[in-house]
């Protein structure tokens, strides 16, 4: 018998995960038994036609929703049965979100938008702002910290979102069409940021339908009819 290092569990490990949505009385099987492992430090793109279940899967992976069946282990810990409050805590602690529509708070400065998740972690306002300033610096927006979202360009707004996603130093970042509302030049700038973050070791999961964006990922996954497919 040789001494072996215990294997590092994948950050995400799901088996036979299912989720059905109800539109009135009509059942819509959005995710139909997905098996998936995502290693720490990976950059995963998730593509597929609309209605393929890729957003639903991302919501499940990001603890925004609970699966109907199947198992989900995050960093080796089974979180399938976690309740709503615990999932909120987990999102706050280990997950960063970047959305297509930015979802920045109006009439709130970039600094406070970025600091917001830390408030729910119980951080003091001053400390939260200091941390927010650090990540805004990372996305080269230190000169824009007191601007409200309506005073920022689309690219700048998305960089505020990235800063907000990074502020709690998450283990994984989920992006939903992060460049969907941006022109191609700005999209490239944003993708450069994600590439750099991944180079630094951040795990990234990105839902997109643009092949050129998906190419940035190390692992390209495709979904169709609620299941993983080999070919995109």
């Amino acid at each position: 018998m040789t001494e072996k290092e215990p294997p590092v569990p994948p950050i995400i490990h799901i088996r036979r995960l299912t989720k059905t949505y109800w539109n009135g009385d009509v059942a819509i099987p959005a995710v139909r038994g997905v098996d998936l492992d995502i290693e720490e430090g990976d950059f995963v793109s998730l593509t597929g036609p609309s209605g393929s279940g890729k957003s639903t899967l991302m919501n499940l992976l990001a603890f925004l929703d609970a699966p109907d069946s199947g198992t989900y282990q995050f960093g080796g810990q089974d979180i399938t049965a976690f309740d709503e409050d615990y999932r909120a805590e987990l999102r706050n602690a280990v997950i960063g979100f970047v959305f297509q529509q930015f979802f920045l708070l109006a009439r709130t400065t970039a600094l406070d938008n970025v600091a917001m998740p830390l408030m729910y972690a119980g951080k003091k306002k001053r400390q939260a702002r200091e941390q927010a300033y650090d990540v805004l610096q990372k996305v080269s927006l230190e000169h824009r910290i007191y601007h409200n979202p309506n005073e920022l360009s689309g690219g700048q707004q998305q960089r505020v979102c990235i800063a907000r996603a990074l502020v709690n130093n998450p283990r994984i970042i989920f992006c939903d069409e992060p460049t969907g509302n941006l022109d191609s030049k700005t999209a490239k700038e944003i993708m450069d940021i994600f590439d750099k973050l991944n180079d630094e070791g951040k795990t990234i999961v990105m839902v997109t339908h643009e092949p050129s964006i998906a190419k940035h990922a190390k692992t390209q996954l495709c979904m169709k009819d609620g299941k993983m497919t080999e070919k995109c």
Binding site: D85, A88, E89, F103
Partner: protein
């Protein structure tokens, strides 16, 4: 976190100034009227108290038969001059320091071709001392003038000003009352309440004169009211009881009947307090309705806000806000709305009260009413505002807290 919620709430409030102002109106009016009625009640009470103290609080008034008539089912009992003398010398009532008893009736006076409706009080000179009347010009009538039935009269300052312009000018003038000529010997300063509120001219003449001229033959030795001043520090309840006993004994009134109306001046305050409380309860009920309507307005605007900010709620939940945090956030927003409304209501109520006091002073300068700040009122108002915010903000806040993060983010 709490401070963040409060600043966020203010930002929301200022972002929709017009909408917020209209929403808060119900609360402003509700709180404003509570403040107004509490303040004015206190102002009125203080005014009345100052008037009563001016009269002297250690005075009891007794009304017998005559213009007050019988009280209850009993027949009127006459009080005669002999009864008064006996009462004054009663062993049971050693605390009496002064006593005056009189007869009063309403007559028409004539001066310089003008007619004036007035009440003429026939009494003893002690009347002025008991009521604390200050002499402004001339003199009071004397005891010997009462004995002689002299046709002299003392008038109040308002009447003197209206008819003779100056007080000194009034003294020595002849005035005809119901056809009899009287000589004005003095002008007294009447209590402010009498000069302004009742709007009634009162003149004072010797008891015997008034009775001889105006009382019917069978009432020539009767009085219809008694004013009794008693020593300071007397137990007024015990005094009143003994007084009642003596009055019934002396006049021979049937036992168990209530032929006399005995009113101490402190009782006036008690009666006023009761009336004031009734008015305050009534206005509070109206304010309650206004607050209820205002509260529904708050609930409505909060529901609209929750609807408008569904995406924000979704985002907050996505980044880790628990249901409870969202609940507290929206509850605080609703409390901020009602509290700001309440503060405006307090300002509005105090402003209105100050204006009312100013207006009264302008119309009736003699009253000299002063503004009173009631510290309890704004404290109570703040409490009510916060409570309104909690009650009417709870449902929208609960609704917000239960939103699903994904559905909220997708909400269009």
């Amino acid at each position: 976190m709490l401070i963040t919620h409060i600043t966020t709430s203010f930002r929301q409030l200022l972002a929709n100034k017009g909408k917020s102002a209209l929403t808060m109106l119900g609360v402003v009016i509700g709180i404003g009227s509570v403040i107004f009625i509490m303040t004015l009640g206190e102002v009125a009470k203080n005014f009345l108290l100052s008037q009563v103290t001016q009269f002297g609080t250690n005075v009891i008034e007794v009304a017998g038969s005559g213009e007050f008539g019988p009280l209850g089912d009993s027949d009127p009992v006459a009080i005669t001059d002999d009864d008064i003398k006996e009462l004054k010398d009663s062993n049971l009532l050693p605390e009496i320091t002064a006593l005056s008893a009189g007869y009063t009736t309403a007559k028409t006076a004539e001066y310089n071709g003008e007619n004036y409706s007035l009440s003429i009080f026939g009494d003893w000179p002690d009347y002025f001392a008991i009521n604390n009347y200050q002499l402004l010009a001339g003199r009071f009538f004397t005891e010997s003038e009462v004995h002689n039935g002299a046709k002299v009269v003392v008038i109040g300052n308002t009447f003197a000003e209206d008819v003779f312009e100056t007080y000194d000018n009034a003294v020595g003038k002849q005035i005809s009352i119901d056809g009899t000529t009287f000589k004005i010997v003095g002008v007294v300063e009447e209590p402010a309440a009498m000069s302004g509120f009742i709007q009634q001219i009162i003149v004072y003449a010797p008891l015997t004169t008034v009775r001889r001229l105006y009382a019917p033959a069978e009432q020539q030795d009767e009085v219809i009211y008694i004013l009794i001043e008693f020593a300071q520090g007397t137990d007024s309840v015990s005094f009143e009881r003994r007084l009642k006993y003596e009055l019934e004994r002396i006049t021979g009134a049937e036992e168990g009947t209530e032929p006399f109306l005995i009113l101490s001046r402190t009782q006036f305050i008690e009666i006023f307090d009761t009336i004031l409380l009734a008015i305050q309860l009534f206005v509070s009920a109206i304010a309650g309705i206004s607050l209820f309507v205002g509260g529904i307005g708050i609930m409505n605007i909060m529901l609209v806000t929750v609807n408008e900010r569904t995406k924000e709620i979704g985002l907050r939940k996505a980044v880790g806000a628990k249901n409870q945090s969202i609940l507290i956030q929206f509850l605080i927003e609703s409390i901020v709305l009602t509290t700001v409304g309440g503060i405006f209501g307090i300002i509005f109520g105090l402003g209105l009260s100050a204006f009312a006091v100013f207006a009264v002073n302008l119309a009736l300068p003699a009253w000299d009413v002063s503004f009173v700040f009631v510290p309890l009122a704004p404290i109570l108002a703040c409490g009510v505002s916060i409570t309104t915010g909690i009650i009417f903000g709870l449902y929208p806040a609960l609704k917000a807290s239960k939103l699903h993060p994904i559905e909220s983010l997708r909400y269009e």
